[in-house]
């Protein structure tokens, strides 16, 4: 199994060093994955169900720690510092996450949802700063014009795609460095998916995005680099264009051409 370490002049913002994750002592869900991720890129993690891609993603912001029987070896460095040495709450503020099913907080208004990263952390902002942040975040996800008159309503009446963009806005409001996305469009219709993919292409100018997707064409459309995982191993990691046209590994080729997956 090849681990590609790409030569680059830029310091990677996220380094995965021999990361292994297991639910049970015998079986590793993620096996010895090493990869460097550069700032302002979109990296797609692909693979068939059960290959470990979500598990790997959820290790990065340490959300796996909610579930007690998961063990991790190896290290994950965020801007040179190990995430395991930091306070997990700090890690999560710097590394945001968007989930597969849109999950805006049902009892908060749209306005409060966007700012929830602050209110949940007990950070108080003055009204002016709050208004600015909300407008900025909602603009960044192209939702501002659609909701600016109904900000005080709860988000449940929004469409799936709008709710998901609201969740992205909520993450952006905290101004993270990296945004992790776990199959963010798999529950949405094609038009909303399209809108979000365009959004991601814009967001990468300011943020670094790692997206798990089971949609190969999505990876081809938007990502700069792609990882292919299979049964917990990182099979291949390369520039997307290169991997799609000239995959180095037979398994990668089979996956990309639909032999399995």
């Amino acid at each position: 199994m090849e681990n590609m370490i790409i030569e680059n002049k830029v310091e990677p913002i996220l380094k995965l060093n021999e990361v292994s994750v297991s639910y049970t002592p015998e079986k590793k869900a993620v096996n010895n994955v090493s990869a460097d991720i550069n700032p302002n890129t979109i990296t797609a993690i692909m693979g068939p169900s059960g290959c470990g891609k979500s598990t790997l993603l959820r290790a990065i912001n340490r959300i796996h720690e909610l579930y007690p029987n998961i063990t991790i070896t190896g290290d994950i460095l965020l801007k040179g510092e190990s995430v395991f040495g930091m306070n997990p709450m700090d890690v999560r503020r710097m590394v945001g996450m968007v989930f597969q099913s849109p999950n805006p907080f049902p009892t908060m208004s749209i306005y409060d949802n966007v700012l929830s990263g602050y209110s949940l952390n007990g950070i108080k902002l003055n009204k002016k700063k709050k208004d600015e942040l909300v407008e900025e975040s909602l603009n960044a996800v192209a939702l501002w014009d659609e909701v600016k008159d109904v900000m005080n309503k709860r988000g449940s009446f929004l469409s799936g795609g709008q709710q998901q963009r609201l969740c992205i806005a909520r993450t952006l409001a905290l101004q993270p460095e990296v945004i992790l996305m776990d199959e963010p469009t798999s529950a949405l219709d094609p038009i909303s998916t399209n809108k979000i993919e365009e959004l991601l292409l814009q967001l990468k100018e300011k943020f670094t995005i790692v997206i798990v997707t089971h949609n190969i064409s999505q990876a081809a459309r938007i990502s700069d680099k792609s990882m292919f995982m299979f049964l917990g191993d990182l099979v291949e990691y390369d520039d997307t264009k290169h991997m799609f046209t000239k995959p180095r590994n037979k398994k990668t080729e089979e996956y990309l051409t639909g032999v399995f997956g």
């Binding site: 709450m89 929830s116 993450t171």
Partner: protein
């Protein structure tokens, strides 16, 4: 061929008969409710007046004299109303924080052996007959403190309410999608903040409904209070003193031939409060469906 036809005829007849029987018995099952409500309303309404709420219970002697003179019985159930407020109020204060916390704990630790044991014991507590709860509170509070008290009554009611609040909190929280908690934590929030600012507000409907139902359940309890709060003929706000309660008064009236007419208006009040609580609980459960 004829066999089959008569067979079908017979089967259809049996089917129709069963249908009718089911409906008849179902209707019969509803009859007692109307009988009871009817009796309580018809007999209770005449005495259901402002006096009920503003005066304390009359003594047996006063009632007897009033009846001998052809007057209506003086007095009301103020001491019972304030007593119920005191005892149930204190029980609510004791139950809610503990019940909530245990419910949160159980919803979060579904697979641990310890949590399963706690869950089992909670169910056990729920099944304790009300008179036995009275004995327990008697042993814990009345005996050591040397007297009947509102506190003992509240402890008894807490034992009855706690499992209900734990269950409804746990079930409500378990039904919330796990991504809600994850989303909160993914924003860097502390667990405490996620519980109080996301989970509990989102589950508020179910939790509050559970609390209301627990209250309506214990409002009408007599047996445990007989062994703990005992009763009093005056308004009492001291939790260490014997206190009255509406069901206790109904029992007192029932046992006193001079006061027995008052059972109906007191029962009417009790039923009204209980039904309002139940109706509120249903309303909130429906409105808060997220």
């Amino acid at each position: 061929m004829n066999d089959q036809v008569s067979n079908i005829k017979r089967r259809n007849r049996t089917d129709k008969t069963a249908y009718v029987l089911i409906i008849v018995f179902a209707i019969l099952a509803m009859v007692p409710l109307f009988l009871i409500l009817g009796e309580v309303i018809i007999k209770g309404l005449p005495n259901f007046n402002l006096r009920l709420f503003t005066e304390v219970t009359p003594s047996s002697m006063d009632a007897m004299l009033a009846k001998a003179n052809g007057e209506s019985i003086p007095g009301g159930i103020l001491n019972g109303i304030t007593g119920t407020l005191l005892i149930v109020g204190l029980a609510i204060i004791l139950t809610i924080p503990i019940g909530l916390f245990i419910g949160i704990y159980l919803a979060d630790h579904q697979s641990s052996k310890f949590a399963k044991t706690v869950s089992f014991l909670t169910d056990l507590m729920q099944g304790i007959p009300s008179i036995v709860v009275g004995i327990i509170a008697y042993a814990w509070i009345v005996k050591p403190f040397g007297g009947y008290s509102a506190l003992a009554g509240s402890v008894a009611l807490t034992i009855m309410m706690l499992p209900m609040v734990v269950r409804s909190t746990e079930e409500t929280l378990k039904m919330l999608p796990v991504s809600l908690k994850e989303a909160g934590l993914a924003l860097g929030s502390s667990y405490t903040n996620v519980v109080f600012k996301v989970l509990i507000p989102s589950g508020f409907g179910g939790i509050f409904t559970g609390i209301l139902l627990a209250i309506s359940r214990v409002m009408g309890e007599t047996a445990p209070l007989m062994l703990t709060a005992l009763g009093a003929s005056i308004v009492n706000w001291n939790i260490m003193e014997p206190t009255s309660a509406i069901p206790l008064l109904i029992w007192d009236f029932y046992n006193d031939p001079n006061l027995v007419e008052l059972v109906w208006s007191s029962s009417l009040l009790l039923l009204i409060v209980i039904f309002i609580l139940n109706w509120l609980a249903k309303l909130i459960a429906r409105k808060w469906k997220i």
